[in-house]
């Protein structure tokens, strides 16, 4: 990773973190009614993985956080309008913040049922293959979601047809109140790759460089027609499952411990050591992020609600 890439990832991590903090405030203040699964703690892997994509690749994100959209470059005000169910978002109030969509950048949208993403990603991979392109598909999903049958069917189908799909598991230790070790019978989800004879790799999800390198490698494999890969990024969900989660099912000690591995200060320290990030840059990046968010929130707040009877539109093309 070169300097500018590192900074780009860092900027997106900061912007994502600040945006989620702001969204949490808005929700808690009752200013927007949206339903949000925060991604705090997982921004490193999300931003780094997406940084490895080409503009014409496809993206199936998971339900956790805003970093996917931030990193892919979807305007913040659009994300906020989706959250608030206003005009000016990406889905006309139809899907809320869970269904941010952006065809220009290959952002296909989200399945409300977990695991619904796998077959869709497979289909996007199929399109690429049938048309003979060299794009790829990046599909995020959680540790809990790795237990859906669609994971198995899609991994196998991608493998037998050598479809260019990178499956990226965000193993954050929990699926709502269910710890990974009780939901998932294997220590490393990456080992499931063995059932499909495809590469499976574990990386530290809080280290952007490890994630980036693994995704680059998997994308290369995909583009060259060798088929899918599975990457497991170990990370941790620092906040509750949703904004408002009582989070009563795990110990404060456990959560505290993981705050000490918050990827943002860790990456800052690293970048500082490498001379890539100075203190003043840091404050600048933070201030820039806040200013962007302020402008986006302001935009959102001025946007009207959708026309009520537009509820009847968009069923059929």
């Amino acid at each position: 990773m070169d300097r500018s890439l590192k900074l780009q990832i860092y900027r997106n991590m900061i912007l994502s973190r600040r945006l989620e903090e702001r969204i949490a405030e808005l929700i808690k203040a009752g200013q927007v009614g949206g339903f949000m699964h925060p991604g705090v703690g997982q921004e490193a892997l999300q931003c780094a993985a997406i940084a490895a994509l080409r503009r014409d690749d496809y993206l199936l994100y998971a339900h956790r956080g805003v970093a996917y959209w931030v990193a892919r470059g979807i305007p913040l005000e659009k994300v906020l309008c989706d959250l608030a169910g206003r005009e000016g978002g990406t889905n006309r109030g139809k899907g809320g913040v869970m269904r941010v969509v952006y065809p220009e950048l290959g952002v296909l949208g989200e399945s409300g049922t977990l695991g619904g993403c796998f077959p869709i990603a497979t289909g996007a991979g199929l399109s690429i293959k049938v048309k003979g392109g060299d794009q790829a598909v990046l599909c995020f999903f959680g540790d809990g979601t790795s237990n859906r049958g669609t994971f198995h069917e899609s991994m196998n189908l991608c493998a037998v047809r050598k479809l260019p799909v990178v499956f990226l598991c965000e193993n954050n230790g929990w699926a709502v109140s269910m710890p990974t070790e009780r939901s998932t019978a294997v220590r490393d989800i990456a080992d499931r790759a063995k059932g499909y004879a495809v590469p499976g790799k574990v990386v530290d999800g809080n280290d952007p460089e490890q994630v980036y390198d693994a995704v680059v490698e998997a994308l290369k494999r995909a583009r060259s027609g060798e088929g899918p890969s599975l990457i497991e990024a170990k990370t941790y969900r620092l906040w509750g499952h949703w904004i408002g989660d009582p989070d009563s099912y795990r110990s404060r000690e456990e959560v505290e411990k993981h705050w000490r591995h918050d990827p943002i200060p860790a990456f800052e320290e690293k970048l500082a050591k490498e001379g890539v990030l100075t203190d003043s840059m840091r404050s600048e990046i933070d201030a820039e992020a806040r200013a962007k968010i302020d402008r986006a929130v302001e935009f959102m707040q001025k946007q009207p609600s959708p026309r009520p009877d537009s509820a009847l539109e968009d069923v059929f093309a």
Binding site: K94, M98, T113, G115, G116, R148, S177, L312
Partner: protein
């Protein structure tokens, strides 16, 4: 008599039936350690132990299908889906296995399975907000209940757990906090297949399902003030479906409105309309009115959601039209 909430009614039913019968087990995502995302099952693991109350991986096919397998082999599983919409992820297990395993094997096995399905639009969009009862009402072999108040929530769930057939139990998310009176009888059961006349009247028959019932009762109040005494029928069970209750009422009133949170085409109102056309045509003096979702998925933004979900005003207007 005590006053409890709908959520409490569900919980009491679970606790009482689990105390009564050691073959009743309860599982689903987050039901044990967390007590369920709607907090219905808190404390149950503590009382009944991890063998009978446990959390499952996110594997709806496996755990719903396992409910069928466990029911075939002597348990009475109560399976919680986090949202009724997830029934679609497990269509084979629900429709072809729970619904048809017994029949296909010539009645060799019983399937005493309950699947709890939190239903209803609540700002959560197309895949977390449906009332999909009508899909499954078309399936032979499944019983379906949709309680509208705490007493029915409890009595129907107890009856469902004791029933030897698969029951889809639809609990409306917006009713969890609703309050109502309930008897203290530990054998308080509401029989599957028996409609409730929620309010008597003779001006019009308003059939309302689940969360539409309180709205229907409010409409009935409003119309009473205007001098129209309508009858409100709450079918409670959609299978078995208490056809005579509706037919009898319409023979008296000659007018029918159905209020439901299904999609309009082939919603429950379609069956009611067709049944009346078969059995009570000569008594009908006005057209059917269906107040339902206008055949669109459920949008997320409140203003859109409220546009498509039946509300008091829409039900009222439909009744007024027929009473004119």
């Amino acid at each position: 008599m005590r006053t409890i909430t709908y959520a409490q009614g569900i919980k009491e039913a679970l606790v009482e039936e689990m105390r009564r019968d050691p073959t009743v087990i309860l599982y689903g995502e987050d039901v044990a350690n967390f007590g369920g995302i709607f907090r219905i099952t808190s404390g149950l693991k503590e009382e009944f132990g991890e063998n009978r109350v446990f959390d499952t991986p996110i594997s709806e096919n496996a755990f719903v299908g396992a409910g069928v397998g466990a029911a075939l082999t002597g348990l009475r599983p109560v399976v919680e889906l986090q949202f009724a919409d997830f029934l679609f992820t497990t269509g084979d297990e629900i429709v072809l296995k729970a619904g048809m395993w017994r029949y296909g094997h010539g009645g060799a096995y019983k399937i005493p399975l309950v699947v709890r399905c939190p239903s209803g639009a609540a700002g959560v969009g197309p895949e977390h907000g449906q009332c999909p009862e009508a899909f499954f009402m078309h399936t032979p072999g499944l019983k379906i209940v949709s309680p509208s108040n705490p007493a029915d929530a409890k009595g129907l769930l107890k009856a469902a757990i004791r029933d030897d057939n698969p029951v889809l139990y639809f609990e409306h998310k917006l009713l969890y906090a609703a309050k109502g009176e309930i008897s203290d009888d530990p054998d308080y059961l509401v029989p599957l297949g028996k409609a409730a006349i929620a309010r008597e009247g003779d001006a019009l028959t308003l059939v309302a399902i689940s969360a539409m019932v309180p709205k229907a009762l409010a409409v009935a109040d409003r119309l009473a003030k205007e001098g129209h005494h309508i009858e409100v029928i709450d079918p409670r069970s959609l299978c078995p479906f208490d056809r005579p209750a509706i037919v009898e009422s319409v023979k008296k009133t000659g007018k029918i409105v159905v209020a439901e949170e299904s999609y309009r085409t082939l919603g429950v109102g379609a069956e009611i309309g067709a049944m009346l056309m078969e059995e009570a045509l000569e008594y009908l003096d006005r057209p059917l009115r269906r107040v339902a979702i206008p055949d669109v998925p459920i949008p997320t933004a409140t203003v859109l959601e409220q546009f498509v979900i039946p509300n008091e005003e829409k039900i009222y207007q439909a009744c007024r039209e027929l009473l004119a």
